[in-house]
Symmetry: C3
C-alpha cells in the first residue's frame, strides 16, 4: 500500500528527517506514528485557525529539539514521542490566554518564551513518567502535557505581563445545577465532532472530521474507536442530563475518544472482553471528566486530558490482574490491526 | 471451635459459594475474611436501614461479579477481596444523594445504574493498586472505594437526573472557627460507637456495637483495636478542642478505627513497638481526617476513608526502614492472634 | 584542611555524637552533612529570633530521637538525614500559628505536643519515600516535611486550642491581578537574600547571608548555586511581572535555591549540560512556586518547599533518559566538588 511505503521513507532521511519527526509528533497526540496522519491533523488545525496551527508546530519543534539536545533515545525522538506533548501545551497556552478561545490571539514575546519553556519541560517529563510506569508496561500518555499545563497555566495568574483574566477564572459548583435540558440533533452532531476536535482545543466540527480522517489513514479501527468514544460519551451525558452547552462544546467527548483509542485495540488486543473493557473505560472517562472539573473548579484550572490519562493508567495498571485481557507492551503497540494480527499468529502456533 | 470450622465450610461450595464470598466481602471492609462476621455486619446495617442493607448487598454482588467476568484470581474473589470496595461505594452513593442521610432514600433507576458502574470500577482498581503497591508488600486497602467515590460523587454535581443538592455542598473554613466546646458523656459515648458505625456510613450507635461484635467473632484483638482506635481519636479531638457535633457523628473515629485494625497486629506483628507504632498511626489519622476535610472543603467532597488509607500506606511503606517492626506480608495477614502465633513459632526455632 | 578534619570528629563520639547529628540535621535542610554548617545556620536563625531557634532545635531533636527509638539505619541518623524534616516542621508550625510571623510567638503546651507528633511523623515518612523512590536512585528530599506540614497545618483549622486565625486564611485569585509593579534595587537585594533565609522561614536578609556562609563552609560551589537559584528566580519574577511584595519576601527564591543546590552538582555531575539542566530546573521551579500557590489558594495552605521537591523529583526521575547527564546516586552525593573529582577520575581511566 502507498501509505505504508510512504510512512517510513523520510524517518531516517539526513535532512528531511526532522520534518518527519515533527509531523509524527503531531500524529502521536492521537497515537498515530505516521507523518501523513500528522500532516492531515495539522491541516485540520490550520483550517480552524492559522494561529493555533503555528503554535502547534512551534511546540512540537521546541520539545523535539529539547530531547535532541539532551540526547534522549533517538528511536523515540524519530517516532514523535517527544513531540506530541509539546504540540498540546503550545496550543493550550495560546487558548487559555486568548480573549478569543475559538481561533486564538497572537501571543506576545513573553508568551512565546513562556511556551518554549513549557514545551521543553514536557520533554523532560517524558522519561520521568517512563521511569515510574515503564516497569508496569504502561505508557506515560499525555501526562507530561497535563502536568506542564496545570503548573504553567496556574502560574500565569501571578504574573502581569501575560493577560489571562478573560480565559482562566474560577467558577462555582452552583453554575452546574438546573433543570434537565432539552437535547436536539445539534447536541449529538456537535457533541460528537467537537469531541474529536477538542483533543486539539479546536471549536470546529470540520476540524474534528479531518482529524478522524488523519487517524483513518493509519488505522481504520482506530478512527472507529475515536468516533465510538466521542459518541458513547455524548450518550452518557444525555442519559444523565448534563448541560447541553458542555456537551455541544465536545467537553464530554475528547477524553473519552482518547481512552477509546488507547484501550480499544492499541494497548490491549481487541478481543471481545477487550472491547467491553474499553467501553467501560469510555463510560468511566466521560464521568470522570465531569468529576475532575468539579475538583479543579475552585482553582479555575481546566481538565485538559487528565481524565483520559488517569482512567487509562488505572485500567492498564490492572491489566495483568484479569486473565481475559491480552496486554500489548507500549513498545510493540502500533495499530489495533497489527496487534490483532500478531496476537492471532501467536495463537495459531 | 465452631466458628473456625464454619468459617471455610461454604467457601468452595459449588452453588452456595457465591453467598459466602459476598458475606466475606462485607466482612473485609474491616479486614475480616469470615462470612459470619460479614453476616453480623450486614445485620448491623439492616438494623439501621434496610435501604442501606440492600445497597450494601447490591454493591458487593456487582463488584464480585465484575471480577468473575474479568477472570481475576479465584482465591482473591473467594476471600471477598473484590467485594468490600463495592459494598462501600454503594452505601456511599446512596448516602450522599439522599436528603435523609441517616437511613437513606430509595435510589431511582439512573442511580442504580450509576452505582453498578461505580462498583464495577472498584473491581478494576483492585489490581491497579496491587500492581503499584504489591512490590512493597503493602495492600491496596479501601483506595479503590475512595478513588471511585471521589470521582463518581463529584461527577453527580454536573448531572441533573440525580439530585445531590442537599447532601454534597461546599462549606467554608469559617464554619470551623469558634470557642472551645463543652464536652459531655455523650461526646464520648456517641463519638466512640458512631466512630465504628460510620465506617459503613451508619448514624446509629447500636450498629456500631454490632459491627464490633462481628469483628470479635473472628478476632478478639481486632475488635479491641477498633475500639481503641475510635476511643483514642475521640480523646485527641477533645484534647485539641474539635467541634462537638463532628466528634459525636463519629467523624474523627472511623478512619482511626480502621488504621488501628490495619497496623494493630494485622500487617505488623503486635509486639510492644508495633503497638506503639499503631497508636502513633491512630493519633495521626485522627488529625489527618480533620486536615483532608479542609483540603476537600472547596470541592464539597467528603473525606471517606482516605485518611486511613494514606496514613496506613505511609506507615507500612516505612516498615522495612525500622528494625523494631515485624512486617506481615498482606497475603499472610489473617488475624492479629494468628500472626503473633506464627511469629513466636519462628522466634523459638 | 581544618574544616574537613573537624567534620567527622564528633560523629561517632559516644556522648557528644547526638549534638553532632542534630547539627548535621539542621545542615541537611540545605544538603550540608557538616555540623559546623549546621551550627552557623542555627546561629542565623537565632540571630533573627530565639523562638525559631529553639523550635528548630526541638524539632530536629524529636525527629532524631524517633528514628533512634524505631531503630532506623544508624548511618542515616548520624548523617542528620532524620533531623532536617523535623527542623523545618517545627519552625513552620510556629510560624503559621504566630500572629507575628517575622519572629514567631511562644507556643503553648498544646502546640509543643502537636509539634512533637508532627516531627515524629516526618521520621516515619523518611523510609516511606525511600521505599518509593530509592529504586529510581532519587532521594526523598523535604517531602516528609511538606506532607507532614500540609496534613498538620490544615488540621489546625478544625481545632480550637491552637489559634491560627491570623496566619492561615484562604485568599482569592483576584488578589493576584493588577498592573505591572515598579521594581527597585530592594526588589533584587531583599528578593535574593530573603530567598535564602525563607528556606528556614526567616524574614531577615542577614540570616540569608549567614545561611550562605554556612553552606560555603562545606562547599563553595553549593553556596554559589544557592545564590544563583535565588537570583535567577527573582529575575524570572521581574521579567514576567510578579508582585513586588511576593518577590521581596523571598517567596520566589527559596524553592529555586533548593532546586539549584540539588541539581547543580549534587545529584547530577556539574558538567556543562548538567549546569544548563539545573538552570532549566531553577526557572521552572520559580514558576511552579507561583502555580502551586494558586492551586493551594482555596485551602489557605502555604506552598512550603513543594515546588522544589516536585520539580527536582521530576528532573531526577528523568536522568537516565538523557545521555548528556551524569547521575550521582543519593548515597554517594556529598558535595559538587567531590562528585566532580570522582567523575573526572573515572573518565581518565
Amino acid at each position: 500500500m502507498m501509505t505504508i511505503l510512504q510512512k517510513d521513507r523520510f524517518r531516517d532521511h539526513p535532512t528531511l528527517g526532522f520534518v518527519d519527526w515533527v509531523l509524527r509528533g503531531i500524529g502521536q497526540v492521537v497515537f498515530q506514528n505516521n507523518p501523513i496522519s500528522g500532516a492531515v491533523i495539522l491541516a485540520a488545525i490550520f483550517y480552524n485557525s492559522w494561529i493555533y496551527g503555528i503554535a502547534c508546530l512551534f511546540g512540537t519543534i521546541i520539545s523535539t529539539l529539547t530531547a535532541m539536545w539532551l540526547k534522549a533515545d533517538r528511536g523515540l525522538i524519530k517516532d514523535g514521542l517527544f513531540g506530541f506533548n509539546g504540540a498540546l501545551i503550545a496550543v493550550a497556552l495560546v487558548a487559555y490566554t486568548s480573549p478569543n478561545f475559538a481561533t486564538g490571539n497572537i501571543p506576545n514575546a513573553h508568551l512565546w518564551l513562556y511556551i518554549a519553556i513549557s514545551a521543553a519541560f514536557t520533554s523532560v517529563l517524558v522519561p520521568t513518567f517512563s521511569a515510574l510506569l515503564g516497569p508496569h508496561k504502561v505508557p506515560g500518555l499525555t501526562m507530561p502535557f497535563v502536568a506542564s499545563g496545570w503548573l504553567f497555566l496556574a502560574a500565569l495568574l501571578q504574573f502581569t505581563t501575560i493577560d489571562v483574566s478573560s480565559a482562566i477564572k474560577p467558577t462555582s459548583p452552583a453554575d452546574f445545577t438546573g433543570p434537565r435540558p432539552d437535547y436536539t440533533w445539534s447536541t449529538w452532531f456537535y457533541g460528537i465532532t467537537h469531541g474529536i476536535a477538542e483533543i486539539f482545543f479546536q471549536d470546529n466540527w470540520m476540524s474534528g472530521v479531518l482529524i478522524l480522517v488523519g487517524i483513518a489513514i493509519n488505522t481504520r479501527i482506530g478512527a472507529l474507536m475515536a468516533l465510538m468514544g466521542s459518541t458513547v460519551a455524548v450518550a452518557m451525558a444525555v442519559f444523565y442530563g448534563a448541560h447541553d452547552a458542555a456537551i455541544q462544546d465536545g467537553l464530554f467527548g475528547y477524553n473519552a475518544a482518547l481512552t477509546a483509542l488507547a484501550l480499544g485495540g492499541l494497548f490491549l488486543v481487541l478481543n471481545v472482553p477487550g472491547m467491553l473493557y474499553a467501553l467501560l473505560g469510555v463510560i468511566i472517562t466521560a464521568r470522570v471528566w465531569a468529576s475532575i472539573g468539579i475538583f479543579l473548579d475552585p482553582t479555575g484550572m481546566p481538565v485538559l486530558t487528565s481524565a483520559f490519562v488517569l482512567i487509562t493508567w488505572f485500567m492498564l495498571l490492572a491489566q495483568r490482574g484479569f486473565k481475559v485481557l491480552v496486554p500489548v507492551p507500549p513498545a510493540q503497540a502500533t495499530t489495533p490491526e497489527e496487534n490483532l494480527r500478531r496476537y492471532r499468529a501467536t495463537q495459531k502456533k
